[in-house]
């Protein structure tokens, strides 16, 4: 167990079934405030379902999830979701609103208006020019759009940032740069981040803690360094073997 100050999030025997199939089978875990956690697994391992149960885009079949000690099902939905930033592969910028309006929408829903300066600051946080706020989403590249997606998710000052395959559709260079940017924002803002990814390399490079999921269960819960030293069991090591083999081959090529 890592050193924790207080638990940000607690999963207590959380299960999710869709009809006859079990997506998440009895997960019990605690995530501490300030951690950057990667949820890694193959398709269908239940990692996205587990993530979406936190902000109740999916309701658990049984078990409880506590967010800062409060059961998420007891909190008003709108209030819960405004305290949790959400970034996902589909991005979902509203195509009929300017970039600025997209970013300011979260505060607006909470009844606060967001000034031009603040919108500009949010854009700068994700390495975009403040002038971008007047543009429309279709005019932006995929990487720029996901940067706006991150800025929008952070606009309500959430304590928790959930990311579901956030960089899955981006080109490698953008993906790398945006990953680094998100990691440094995580540190600067002192938030807790949970990122779902199927890319073990990305998880190892960005996260403090990697949870490996298989068939609805958490098979491994290790720090990246531990995984690279062979911990976490066979399945986790299968996933780690891929980037390791790649980097070894690249090293050979260089010689």
């Amino acid at each position: 167990m890592r050193e924790t100050i207080s638990p940000e999030l607690e999963f207590q025997s959380v299960k999710k079934r869709f009809g006859a199939t079990t997506a998440v089978a009895e997960v019990t875990k605690t995530i501490a405030r300030g951690e950057f956690v990667a949820l890694v697994g193959t398709s269908g391992s239940g990692k996205s379902t587990l993530l979406k149960m936190i902000n109740r885009l999916v309701e658990p079949s049984s078990g409880d999830i506590l967010f800062e000690g409060e059961n998420v099902t007891q909190l008003p939905l709108a209030q819960l979701r405004r305290r949790i930033g959400y970034v996902f592969q589909g991005i979902g910028l509203f195509p009929h609103m300017t970039i600025g309006e997209n970013i300011a929408l979260g505060p607006r829903l909470a009844g606060e208006s967001m000034g031009e300066d603040k919108i500009g600051e949010m854009l700068e946080l994700v390495d975009l020019s403040p002038d971008m706020r007047k543009r429309m989403p279709p005019e932006l590249s995929g990487g720029q759009r996901q940067r706006v997606g991150v800025a929008r998710a952070l606009a309500t000052n959430p304590q928790l940032l959930l990311m579901d395959e956030p960089f899955g559709a981006l080109d490698p260079i953008t993906r790398d740069a945006l990953g680094d940017r998100v990691r440094s924002l995580h540190d600067e803002l002192g938030i807790t981040t949970i990122m779902v990814t199927h890319d073990m390399a990305e998880a190892l490079l960005l996260a403090d803690r990697v949870l490996v999921m298989q068939a609805g269960r958490i098979e491994a819960d290790c720090a990246p360094r531990e995984l690279l030293h062979g911990a976490g069991g066979d399945f986790a090591q299968e996933l780690v073997a891929v980037p390791r083999a790649q980097s070894e081959r690249l090293a050979e090529l260089k010689q």
Binding site: Q79, G90, I91, G92, L109
Partner: protein, 515 residues
């Protein structure tokens, strides 16, 4: 050309009524379709059900849908009382509203289902309530598609509204139907032009609003909306402004079926009633079945019908008891069962009679229906749209064992033309039709009296029959119009050149019978 513009200029009332009817139907359709579309977007079951229903409605021909609301509303009088209108604006509005539903609903539902799922997930992930999601995301993103559906609905509705003439609602269909029946092509063209222009203008303005939404140009869409509202407001003022100061208690509504003789007689009665100080309005182009129900339910006050028609359609009798017995039984039947009063006979008969071109008849040696039996298998019989479903046809077919090679239905106007162009060899003509004499047709005799008699009679609604002034104003017409006078009047309206309007023909006829 100037006749066209004169006709067009005279369509102000019809245009105002048309705009009001179409706008009301589209507005009501929108008010129903949009909440339904939202509901459908939340439930697949509702989506299937509503779209299925709207598509089903669309498969009913507009003309039939309009006509179907007459019996529906009639039966609803049991619930809403006798004040519920069964003809005119209400049934037209309901039918056209149903018609407007589909394009709006389908576009709205399609737009909803094709919304980017990522956008909806983002809306949920941000913590939007259902209402916020609808207002901030779904409505703005589906608006262009809904507008496209609205444009389609508008063009359809404005076109279909011309058919509301047949259920007694004033519209740009009035000149079209009247023109078709009296071969007044200028009138037909003016009506078509009016309704087409209206549809184009409406479509253009809605396109402007749509583009305004799309480009987020407030001036554009507000301007378009203002123009639409202004147009509708102008129609309201024109429609109701004219009606101000009219005393509806003294207004008499005259019904007419859709052919020249009926138009002329309606005007003749109208002119008599106006002389007696009544305000009159006309419900012309009514279907045979609708017009009788209309008079029995006081939807119209007076119209002219024919004994043979009532005998078969209303009394459902088959045997022909002879001319006078038939008339007496009809008078008693109407009085006892419908409360409608037969004021009396006008003096002429408008019977069905088979007619042929004289040269053809001579060549084939046909003088009577009995002669026709032998040659019918080589001939085509032309008749009006309802004839082949009528008991008269079955009676005459059985009496003379007639087996024609072909049977073709025409509107009355084209039936005579078909005979001239030999697209029909025999037609079921009307004895009071001026074209029989003008075209030198041979009318075949009916030795077995298979066709019943068709004395023209004035029918008064239960309400109108209690008004002594109405009775007094119409009584002078009884027994005054012989078949020669009627033929002449009909021909003056039907002929190709030097045409008279039904109102002019009615004035001439009034003069001839000394009124």
């Amino acid at each position: 050309m100037s006749a066209f513009f004169t006709a067009l200029g005279g369509l102000g009332d019809e245009l105002a009524a048309h705009v009001l009817l179409s706008a009301s139907a589209i507005g009501l359709g929108l008010a129903i379709a949009l909440p339904l579309a939202i509901w459908a977007s939340r439930s697949e079951h509702v989506a299937r059900l509503t779209l299925g229903f709207a598509s089903l409605v669309q498969t009913i021909p507009a003309l039939a849908l309009l006509a179907l609301f007459f019996p529906v509303l009639l039966s609803l009088r049991a619930v809403f009382g006798p004040g519920l209108p069964t003809l005119g604006f209400l049934p037209a509005l309901l039918a056209l509203t149903l018609y407007a539903l589909l394009p709006i609903l389908r576009n709205a539902v399609t737009a909803q289902t094709n919304l980017d799922p990522g956008v909806l997930e983002a809306a949920d992930g941000m913590g939007m309530s259902g209402w916020q999601k609808l207002r901030l995301v779904e409505i703005p993103l589906t608006a262009p598609y809904v507008m496209a559906g609205l444009r389609t609905a508008s063009v359809w509705t404005i076109g279909a509204a011309t058919l509301s003439t047949t259920i007694g609602q004033k519209s740009l269909g009035d000149p079209i139907f009247a023109g078709l029946q009296t071969q007044n092509w200028v009138l037909v063209l003016a009506g078509c032009f009016g309704s087409a222009a209206l549809a184009l203008v409406a479509d253009g303005l809605l396109a402007l609003i749509e583009r305004g939404f799309d480009r987020r140009n407030r001036v554009m869409w507000l301007g378009g909306m203002a123009a639409v509202l202004l147009g509708v407001a102008a129609a309201v003022v024109a429609h109701f402004g004219i009606g101000l100061g009219h005393n509806d208690e003294k207004r008499v509504v005259i019904g007419a079926k859709s052919y020249s003789e009926q138009y002329i007689l309606a005007r003749l009665m109208g002119q008599q009633l106006e002389k007696a100080g009544f305000k009159v309005s006309y419900r012309e182009g009514l279907g045979s079945a609708v017009v009788h129900s209309a008079v029995t339910t006081n939807a119209i006050d007076v119209y002219v019908d024919y004994t043979g028609t009532l005998w078969t359609n209303q009394l459902k009798r088959k045997r022909n008891p002879g001319r006078d017995a038939m008339y007496r039984q009809i008078v008693n039947w109407e009085h006892d069962t419908t409360g409608t009063e037969v004021l009396g006979k006008l003096g002429f008969e408008n019977a069905y009679a088979f007619a042929m071109r004289t040269d053809q008849a001579k060549r084939m040696g046909v003088r009577s229906l009995a002669d026709l039996t032998r040659v019918a298998p080589r001939l085509t019989l032309g008749a009006d749209i309802e004839f082949f479903e009528r008991p008269e046809w079955f009676a005459v077919r059985n009496a003379y064992d007639l087996r024609f090679a072909r049977k073709r239905s025409f509107t009355t106007t084209f039936m005579y033309d078909a005979l001239q162009s030999v697209e029909a060899n025999v037609i079921a003509a009307y004895t009071s039709d001026g074209r029989i004499a003008a075209d030198h047709l041979r009318v075949l005799s009916d030795p077995k009296n298979a066709f019943p008699s068709y004395d023209a009679i004035i029918l008064l609604s239960p309400k109108a029959s209690r008004n002594a002034k109405i009775v007094a104003a119409l009584k002078p017409l009884l027994g005054k119009i012989d078949v020669e006078k009627m033929r002449k009047a009909n021909y003056s309206v039907d002929r190709e050149t030097d045409k008279r309007t039904p109102a002019q023909a009615a004035k001439t006829l009034a003069k001839e019978i000394g009124l």
